[in-house]
């Protein structure tokens, strides 16, 4: 009896979510304008990225501060294979998987030397790896021009599905779908795919091995878990999601440059996970959405607010935005280190850590 009730409830929630997600771009577009639909598209990209990094950090407990490198690899792979830069124009169903595989390859490449590292050491090496990738992107325009250096790559092809370019407006069933709407649905489908992948992995033999690794790697090894493979799997799958998101970003933006892939971006994605609730998929999604939307809200609010109340710009909006971001990280960790929406298990871990600390203090 309660079974069916639960199932009905689940189906209900699912339907409501599906309807909301289906009409979301139209609702947002008509109320706030298409610029905000674009922001939502970006939110979906960040959800994919955050879920990818969450496999590495949240599930397996491997602290990665250079995750953006895989996004970059995916983005550049798409850009180089679908732009006038090399005059190659391969279709997306080749370039996106290729970029993802390439990113996964880099994930494993990075993973291999750092297998023995833990915690902060791993964080700093991955950070270094991210920087190396960025420096190469920035400088590989001479003597052979591969990445076009700091200028980046322009005029990247939009994704074409069955001859229809997502870069243009199409009319369908009396509705006019602009490019940002079309990309919205594409991103949504892929995001749902990534969510399903992450959630199924979490509740599997592999997911348990990751938790074991996170909690006590020596005991995990002594239980017969192949530490090397399970770590590489986490790096590889995380990078794969990053690579997909990177390719999509490339096509959506039509332009890539090294500037988009700095350390701050890596930190931003890590912050999405931590502020959302590490290891908890709904929390990570919430964190990614919040950290994409809120800065945009701030961007549009801080300037006018100062003009209206103080009559002049006291503090540059970009400056204020970053200041608030930094403060938010600090305050959030002090007040709610487990994140906005943690899993029950994580919540317990943090409560224990806190109690231990209090007892020692």
């Amino acid at each position: 009896m309660s079974m069916t009730l639960d199932t009905n409830k689940k189906i209900g929630i699912f339907l409501v979510c599906a309807i909301i997600l289906a009409v979301l771009p139209f609702a947002v577009g008509s109320v706030l304008g298409n610029a905000w639909v674009r922001i939502i598209d970006f939110a979906l990209l960040y959800v994919m990225l955050a879920l990818g990094l969450n496999i590495v950090v949240g599930f397996a407990g491997l602290l990665d501060l250079g995750f953006i490198a895989f996004y970059a690899v995916g983005a550049y792979a798409y850009a180089l294979l679908s732009s006038p830069h090399f005059s190659i124009h391969l279709p997306f169903y080749i370039t996106i998987p290729l970029g993802a595989l390439f990113a996964a390859f880099f994930g494993v490449l990075l993973g291999t030397p750092v297998l023995r590292l833990k915690g902060d050491y791993l964080a700093i090496v991955t950070l270094g790896f991210g920087e190396i990738i960025r420096i190469f992107m920035n400088n590989l325009n001479a003597p052979v021009n591969i990445t076009n250096g700091p200028q980046g790559i322009n005029l990247i092809d939009p994704i074409k599905v069955g001859g229809v370019s997502l870069g243009s407006t199409i009319e369908f069933a009396g509705l006019s779908f602009r490019s940002v709407y079309l990309y919205y649905y594409l991103f949504l489908v892929l995001t749902v795919g990534v969510v399903i992948m992450a959630s199924r992995l979490q509740h599997s033999r592999i997911g348990r091995a990751w938790v074991a690794l996170r909690e006590d790697d020596i005991a995990a090894a002594a239980m017969g878990i192949n530490i090397r493979n399970i770590k590489l799997l986490a790096f590889g799958l995380g990078a794969l999601s990053g690579g997909v998101a990177g390719g999509l970003f490339s096509s959506f933006q039509g332009f890539v440059s090294p500037e988009s892939f700095g350390l701050l971006e890596s930190i931003m994605i890590l912050a999405m996970i931590v502020l959302g609730g590490m290891g908890h998929i709904p929390g990570v999604i919430l964190g990614a959405v919040m950290l994409t939307i809120v800065p945009e809200v701030l961007r549009s609010v801080i300037g006018p607010l100062q003009m209206n109340t103080l009559g002049r710009m006291v503090i540059d909006p970009e400056n204020a935005r970053m200041l608030l971001f930094g403060l938010a990280l600090v305050v959030m960790m002090l007040v709610r280190p487990e994140g906005m929406w943690p899993s029950k298990r994580r919540k317990a871990e943090f409560r224990h850590a806190k109690e231990n600390a209090a007892q020692k203090g």
Partner: protein, 236 residues
């Protein structure tokens, strides 16, 4: 007149009440043992006595003064020293530096040196290994360092937490010899031990703790002969 007077002590730890209102006392010059099963609350009791764990109720009077409100690092100044479980020596400090850490809160340099010589007389092994890193010593020697270090703080009461835990029988014997040597120096001690027989044999009085409560107390000899103690803790 007792040196330590504990009344209705209660401690909660991680949502569980580990100590459920216990009373006990220790007189000057006594060696008292607290025995009990794992998780009975013995270590928690010791940690509470030196302020490492906050109590949730009850009173602890030490040397005539209530200890509530003393910051945890200041207990040693008041004459309460503890040798923690596993001895807690500083492995990367030399033997001498370890001993000096014991005298950290004191500034009577000349007197410290005199007492250090006294420790070296008591434990000649340590004199030989003065400049060696304490981590390279054997288990028995480390116990000497831990005891000597604690004595250098001039404690009125020395708490020993499971000194024999996980050690080879021959070392356990040595450790109890050391405990008796220190007792002979006139140091008051509270001993928490799994090895109930050895502990009761060297002590004057004993308390038995079971799931957060003291269930038996008395002369050590009486407890050694007690049927219930023999069955549950002495393995007879």
């Amino acid at each position: 007149m007792s040196l330590l007077q504990v009344k209705n002590l209660q401690v909660s730890y991680g949502g569980i009440q580990a100590v459920k209102g216990i009373d006990f006392s220790i007189g000057k010059g006594e060696l008292v043992t607290l025995i009990g099963a794992n998780g009975a609350g013995k270590t928690t009791t010791l940690r509470t006595l030196v302020g490492m764990v906050k109590r949730s109720g009850g009173s602890i009077e030490f040397d005539g003064k209530e200890t509530a409100g003393i910051p945890s690092h200041a207990f040693v100044r008041h004459g309460l020293a503890m040798v923690p479980e596993g001895r807690g020596i500083f492995g990367k400090l030399t033997v001498e530096e370890n001993l000096l850490m014991g005298a950290y809160v004191r500034d009577d340099k000349a007197q410290i040196l005199v007492e250090m010589e006294r420790i070296y007389q008591l434990f000649p092994r340590l004199k030989e290994r003065q400049r060696q890193l304490a981590g390279t010593l054997s288990g028995g020697e480390q116990q000497m360092v831990a005891m000597g270090r604690a004595m250098l703080s001039k404690p009125k009461l020395l708490l020993l937490d499971e000194p024999s835990m996980g050690l080879a029988p021959i070392i356990v014997q040595k450790i109890f010899e050391i405990i008796q040597m220190v007792a002979a120096e006139g140091v008051t001690m509270l001993l928490v031990e799994q090895n109930a027989r050895l502990a009761l044999e060297v002590s004057q009085r004993g308390y038995v703790m079971e799931s957060g409560r003291i269930t038996m107390e008395g002369e050590a000899k009486t407890l050694l002969d007690d049927e219930r103690v023999r069955n549950a803790y002495l393995g007879d």
